[in-house]
């Protein structure tokens, strides 16, 4: 018996797929959304076979914000939960020179996700129930030379989620911000990440699931990241600007 429906935006990402499995295992029906939804058929069958739940796939392009309302209208049902796992890191060096590339990172990571979640928040509000999960990043906590284009977009997204939570708190709609830290995914493949600081996608999924059940507001998937980001956040700017981290 279905526990409800979860809409996953960004169903092709490793974190997205892990989140879908976690909720499906708990008995939720799943709506998978991503570009080229046809490529999600294998994931759909896999989810349905493993967890004995209903799964649907939907074409979704986060950059085409004018299609978002139509996308939501076309869903078989307004979901109980939406999880947004969309983001584009891009290449920082390229982003510094190619402003189209930088704009694509910013729009994919901030503008698009904020647009669709804002739209869903209004629908949830009209219905009087719903839960919203935004997977943001610790990269948004402080801009660093190494990834400030992506980081600034995540900073915007984190602030957006914070404001949306503030607005919706009185309306019975919960917003959860997830700050994963390093995650072992295709996005980070080839990077030399420290093992103790790097979560598996399944850990992120479990953190999202448990965080939502406990009504948490902001979660760091591995608690050590709260400590790290507090330290990084407290370094005076005159020192920070000369650092290479």
């Amino acid at each position: 018996m279905s526990k409800g429906t979860m809409l996953l935006l960004g169903a092709k990402s490793d974190i997205g797929r892990a989140v879908a499995h976690r909720f499906a295992a708990a008995g939720y029906d799943i709506q998978l959304a991503a570009r080229n939804a046809a490529a999600l058929e294998a994931t759909k069958t896999d989810l349905a076979l493993r967890h004995n739940i209903a799964v649907s796939v939907h074409d979704f392009n986060v950059l085409q914000t004018d299609t978002h309302a139509g996308f939501v209208d076309a869903l078989p049902a307004l979901p109980d939960i939406v999880v947004c796992a969309i983001g584009l890191m891009g290449d920082q060096i390229a982003n510094e020179q190619d402003f189209d590339a930088a704009t694509r990172v910013m729009r994919s990571t901030y503008e698009g996700p904020a647009h669709i979640l804002g739209l869903l928040a209004n629908r949830f509000d009209a219905r009087g129930s719903g839960q919203i999960v935004g997977i943001s990043s610790v990269a948004g906590n402080r801009g660093r030379a190494k990834n400030y284009v992506y980081g600034s977009a995540k900073a915007g997204f984190t602030a957006y989620l914070s404001g949306l939570r503030n607005r919706m708190a009185k309306r019975g709609i919960h917003v959860l911000t997830v700050l994963p830290g390093f995650v072992n995914t295709q996005m980070t493949a080839g990077m030399d990440l420290p093992e103790k600081l790097t979560a598996e996608p399944e850990e992120v999924a479990t953190a999202v699931f448990n965080g939502l059940r406990k009504g948490r507001n902001i979660i760091y998937v591995r608690p050590i990241w709260f400590v790290i980001m507090t330290i990084i956040g407290s370094i005076p700017e005159r020192i920070f600007k000369k650092m290479n981290i």
């Binding site: 490793d14 069958t45 076979l49």
Partner: protein, 441 residues
């Protein structure tokens, strides 16, 4: 580059990893050759460490179809056996053959052609594999079965990933009446008694014996023999019968980190073996145990392999033909116990007939022992190798981490033919593990 090892933690090799999530990724990952596919890394030694690159298969883990009428499952190679059980046991289907851990991939099970406690009755996993899709060195996928590309099919099962990359498979699950096993256990005072008991227990679906390999003299080989049948709901308690496919939640224990030294020494192993035997004797008789406790007792202690400490441990597993088994097993156990090297886990199992190209099992008895990875134990295992050779036995590659090539080639005349077939499949250079290099495969 990271250090990679098998489940035994010995040997360790620096390794380059690839983690494909699509068939195209996989083709790219193997294009430069000298690679091996790695499932969940439960082979004990260096079977799943690539010579140049190791291709992790956990990204290719989709279930593709399942027929609830006849239990036929199609799935990608990276699917874990645990997930097969979780998905289909509630509908009354169970793996037809299972190794002692559920944390293995289907691809790994096929590549090692695993056996379970029912080998004497049902044979190895091969008997339930209807077809395979195998990717060759150039990225082309070959569908193979007993009737189509039959050579590739036969040599890939038990071929340790050395014929190509197993991509997906069609396998048959078995219908079961519940998630419970009716276990009958029996304490047997010595090796002769346990072999006689095995020979009399041919009708049992599952049978396995745990051997106290510390005891000597008249009690050499004293054992607890455990027989099992799938329990029907009417045999179970009311609660269990109402939900026959549910089992109680268990607390998982975890060994948190590799001990700087081994917790196991001759004293603790002796004490454990003694306790286990007397406890088994006390509890002899019929009991009902859930499938997880019966088939996967060690899975309840996550990371149990770490109790051997950082240097790791090795497994020795051989099979001896029926004719020489009594004498050969006695020699193996005697040598082990004289070396004061009592193994922590010693398992004896009767095999039934096996007809396949390169799989490990054959009609006879298989003995599995484990030892800490020390030079002294390697020397002991060489003696055990020789005893196995003297008794026309052979060795399980999924457990091996240190055998000499001459030993393998002398034990198994099929090895030369396997090399020949690898040549024919164009797999000799393309698919190579640290083990295949060490064993001249």
């Amino acid at each position: 580059m990271t250090d990679l090892s098998g489940w035994g933690g010995f040997p360790k090799h620096p390794a380059t990893l690839a983690c494909p999530v699509t068939q195209a990724d996989l083709a790219r990952a193997i294009a430069d050759g000298a690679v091996i596919a790695r499932g969940n890394g439960r082979a004990y030694g260096d079977s799943a460490i690539g010579l140049r690159k190791t291709v992790q298969m956990h990204g290719l883990n989709h279930m593709i179809s399942f027929d609830r009428q006849n239990g036929f499952l199609v799935a990608e190679a990276g699917v874990l056996l645990r997930d097969v059980i979780t998905a289909f046991l509630p509908h009354g289907w169970f793996p037809p053959v299972t190794p002692g851990t559920k944390f293995v991939t289907l691809g790994g099970m096929i590549a090692a052609d695993v056996h379970g406690k029912n080998h004497h009755k049902d044979g190895s996993f091969r008997n339930f594999v209807d077809w395979l899709d195998v990717m060759d060195a150039s990225g082309v996928v070959h569908h193979c079965s007993r009737t189509q590309n039959a050579q590739l099919f036969e040599w890939s099962i038990g071929g340790m990933g050395l014929t190509g990359v197993i991509l997906r498979a069609g396998i048959r699950l078995r219908p079961v009446p519940s998630a419970w096993i009716r276990q009958t256990s029996q304490a047997l005072p010595n090796l002769d008694a346990v072999i006689t008991a095995f020979e009399g227990a041919d009708a049992a679906t599952y049978s396995v014996a745990w051997i106290d390999c510390v005891s000597r003299g008249a009690s050499l080989g004293r054992s607890i023999l455990m027989l099992g049948e799938h329990a029907t709901p009417d045999e179970l308690s009311d609660d269990a019968a109402r939900y026959p496919f549910e089992i109680p939640d268990k607390t998982k224990r975890t060994v948190p980190f590799a001990m700087p030294f081994s917790l196991l020494n001759s004293l603790s192993v002796r004490a454990f073996n003694g306790l286990y035997y007397w406890n088994g004797r006390r509890k002899a008789g019929v009991s009902f145990v859930d499938y997880d406790t019966y088939f996967y007792p060690l899975d309840a202690i996550l990371g149990w392999n770490k109790i051997y400490g950082r240097r790791g441990f090795m497994q020795f597993q051989c099979v001896l033909p029926l004719e020489t088994a009594r004498e050969g097993l006695r020699a193996l156990l005697k040598t082990t116990s004289l070396a004061g090297a009592g193994s922590f886990l010693a398992v004896l199992k009767r095999f039934g007939p096996q007809d396949s190209a390169f799989s490990f099992p054959m009609l006879g008895y298989t003995l599995a022992l484990d030892f800490p990875a020390t030079p002294g134990m390697i020397a002991l295992m060489r003696k055990l190798d020789q005893i196995t050779l003297d008794h026309q036995g052979r060795f399980y590659l999924a457990k091996d981490s240190r055998m000499a090539p001459d030993t393998l080639h002398a034990s198994d005349p099929r090895t030369a033919q396997f090399k020949q077939m690898r040549q024919e499949f164009g797999a000799t250079d393309a698919f190579q593990s640290k083990q295949s290099e060490r064993l001249f495969l």
